[in-house]
C-alpha cells in the first residue's frame, strides 16, 4: 500500500448526501476478479449517458474538475454495500483523499486498507469548503496527515482528528496482515485455549457433515 503523508490537489465537490457504494460502482462491475481498472466505472450511472457518452451535467465531467484528486462530499459518504470496489474505483480514478462530515462504517475502514485518507470535518467547515471549491476554479487544498491539517493558499486551515493507529498505518503504508502476523503467538495461544472446546469454537460441528463431492458439469 502506498503511504499517505501529504497531498495537494484539485478539489471536486460532490454535493449529495448519503452517496452509497452502489452509485460508486454499480453491480454490473462486481464480476471482475482483480482490484484494478475500476476508475473508468466510478459513479457509472451518474457519469455516463447511454452509449457511455459523458453526462455533461455530472460534476466530475466538468472540465474544471479534470485531474481532481480530492473529493469533497456530504454526510454518510459510502453507505450501503461493503464492496471494496468502491475505494478501488476512487483510487484508480485518481483520488487520494476525501473530505466529508461523516462516513459509513465499512467504507471508512475500506479506505484505510487502500491508502485513501478519509478526513472528517465539521458541517460548517465542509460548507465553507464547498463554497470555495464552487466559487474558485482550480481550487486546491493540501491535506497533511502528519500535522492533521487541511489548508488552502488563502488562509484556510482546519485541523482534524484521526485514530493514531490508523494514522500511523497510513503514514507508513503498512501491511495490515503483516502487522497481525507479528502476533502469531497470541493467535496460536488463543486457538490452543479455545479451538477445541466442544461448545464455542470447535470447528467440529463440521465432523457431522461430510464435504460434498464436487458436482460441476
Amino acid at each position: 500500500m502506498e503511504p499517505f503523508v501529504k497531498h495537494t490537489g484539485l478539489v471536486a465537490p460532490l454535493d449529495r448526501v448519503n452517496v452509497d457504494t452502489d452509485q460508486m460502482v454499480p453491480k454490473q462491475f462486481l464480476k471482475f476478479l482483480t482490484r484494478e481498472g475500476y476508475g473508468r466505472v466510478l459513479f457509472y450511472d451518474w457519469r455516463y449517458l447511454p452509449g457511455e457518452k459523458l453526462n455533461p451535467d455530472f460534476v466530475l465531467n466538468q472540465p474544471r474538475y479534470k485531474g481532481a484528486s480530492v473529493i469533497l462530499a456530504r454526510a454518510n459518504f459510502g453507505c450501503g454495500s461493503s464492496r471494496e470496489h468502491a475505494p478501488w474505483a476512487i483510487l484508480d480514478y485518481g483520488f487520494r483523499t476525501i473530505l466529508a462530515p461523516s462516513y459509513a462504517d465499512i467504507f471508512y475502514n475500506n479506505c484505510f486498507k487502500n491508502g485513501i485518507l478519509p478526513v472528517t470535518l465539521s458541517n460548517e467547515q465542509i460548507d465553507e469548503l464547498f463554497q470555495r471549491a464552487e466559487k474558485r476554479e482550480g481550487y486546491r487544498v493540501t491535506v497533511d496527515l502528519e500535522k492533521q491539517t487541511v489548508t488552502d493558499d488563502s488562509g484556510l486551515s482546519y485541523s482534524f482528528e484521526l485514530d493514531p493507529f490508523r494514522r500511523d498505518c497510513l503514514l507508513r503504508g503498512l501491511d495490515d496482515i503483516g502487522l497481525t502476523l507479528v502476533h502469531d503467538a497470541h493467535i496460536t495461544g488463543f486457538e490452543g485455549k479455545n479451538l477445541r472446546l466442544p461448545v464455542m469454537y470447535d470447528p467440529v460441528d463440521v465432523k457431522y457433515h461430510k464435504q460434498e463431492p464436487p458436482q460441476h458439469n
Binding site: 454518510n76 486457538e191 464436487p214
Partner: protein, 474 residues
Amino acid sequence: MAARTLYEKIWEAHIVREEPGQPTLIYIDRHLIHEGTSPQAFAGLKAAGRKVRQPQLTFAVMDHSVSTKNRLLPVLDADALGQFEALARNCQEHGVHLFDLHSKNQGIIHIIGPELGITQPGQTIVCGDSHTSTHGAFGALAFGIGTSEIEHVLATQCLTQFKSKTMKIEINGKRPRGVTAKDFILTVIGKIGIAGGTGYVFEYMGEAVRGLSMEGRMTMCNMSIEGGARAGMVSPDETTFAYLEGRPFVPRGKDFKNAVDHWRSLATDAGAKFDETLTLHANELAPMVTWGTNPGMVTQVTDRVPDPSSFNDPVDREAATRALVYMDLKPGTRIEDIPLDRVFIGSCTNSRIEDLRAAAKVVAGKHVSSDLKQALVVPGSRRVKVEAETEGLDKIFRDAGFEWRDAGCSMCIGMNDDVLLSGERSASTSNRNFEGRQGKGGRTHLVSPVMAAAAAIEGHFVDIRDWKNADGAE
C-alpha cells in the same frame, strides 16, 4: 461482575490481543465467503505466499451472480462463470467447504448459514457482504467486511477492530396483525435515519421482538446495516435453541446440551448499560412502504408521499426532492395509489420459508394483476425451495401467476438477469431502494412479503390489514 450486554460478552470472549491506543485483535469463529467479493482476497493471499489459517472455519457459497432459472443449463454469463470457477478453484486449493451451484444446500449466504446451523450463538461471524448483520439474530456478533479484511481473516483468522457503542432498540407490546418484522425494522430506520446507527451495534429486545420467530429476528438484524449499524443482535433464548437443534452443523447430544447452557449465559444481563436507547410500542406500528431512494425514506401504507418542503433540515429537503424526481412521484400521492410493474419476493431479508408461507396465504386462490409485467418468487435457498415445494407453495404461487425460481440473490442486486428496466417500479421484499439497485433507472419500494403479495394481486400497494389473510410472516 458488572452487568454486561450480549455484545460485551462476545467481544471479551474473543480478544486475542489488546493494547492501549490500538484496535483490538479479535478472533473470528466463522468466515463466510461468496463469489462476488472473495477472488481478489485469494489473489492477494497467493501474491504474498500466505495460506488460509483455518480452512475448516471458512464456508463458501455461490449466490450473488447465479441464475435463478434452470440450474442444469450452462452458465451463459462469462463473467459470472469466471467468478464461479475462481471460487471453486480457491476453495479446492485451500480446503474450504464450498456449496456450489449444484449443491442441495446452495442459497443466499445469509440464509444458508443459519439454516445449516453454521451460525450459532456467541460466535463472531464475518463475510464480505454488508448484510452479514443477519446472523446477529442468533446472538452472534456478525458484520460485513471489505475484501482486504477477507484476506486478513483468511490469513490470520482474526480482525483488528475498534469496539462499538451499543444501542438498545426495544419494541414493547404485541405485534399487531399484518405488521411484520420488516415493518419493525423499516420503522426503526425511518426514526433514526440511515446513518443513525453508525458506530453502534444494535440489540433488539422487548416483547414484540421476543415474540418473533428466528426468521423474523433475522429480517430485523439483516437491515441493521441500513440504519448504519454494522451489526444487530438479539439475545439467544428458547426460540433460538429450538431453531438450532438438529441442524447439520450444530453439535449433537451431550454437546448440544452443553452448548445450550453456554448460549443461555450469553444473554444481556438485567441492568446492563447501553450507550443509547430507542423505545417503541408495537401498537404504533403499521405496514411500511419506502417512497424514496434509501430505506430511511419510508412511511406507513396509509400515508401519502411526503412534500420535501415539510422537512426542516435543508439537506433532507434536497435529498427528498432528488429522490422524488428519481422515483417519479408527486408529493401528496397516496401510497396505495402507486402503480407497480414488477413484484419481487426474495433476498436475504425475506425469502425464508415463513416469508413464503405468509405470502402464499395472501395470494392463494387469487391472481396477479394484469397490470404487472412480472411477479417473482425466489426462495432464499434450495432447502427453502424444497420445503416450499413439499408444502405445495410453489403451486399456489404458480397458479396465482407468479414465477417460481431457484435460489439466489436475484433481483435484490440484479447481478444476474433478474432486473428492473429503466423507469420500471417494483414492490420488493429486499433491503435497498438505492438508485439503480435493481437495475439502472429502476424504482424500488421496500415492503414486507405479505404487502408485496397483496400488491402483486392488486397492481398497486394495499393495506394488508384490510385483508382476511393479513397474518404476518410468523
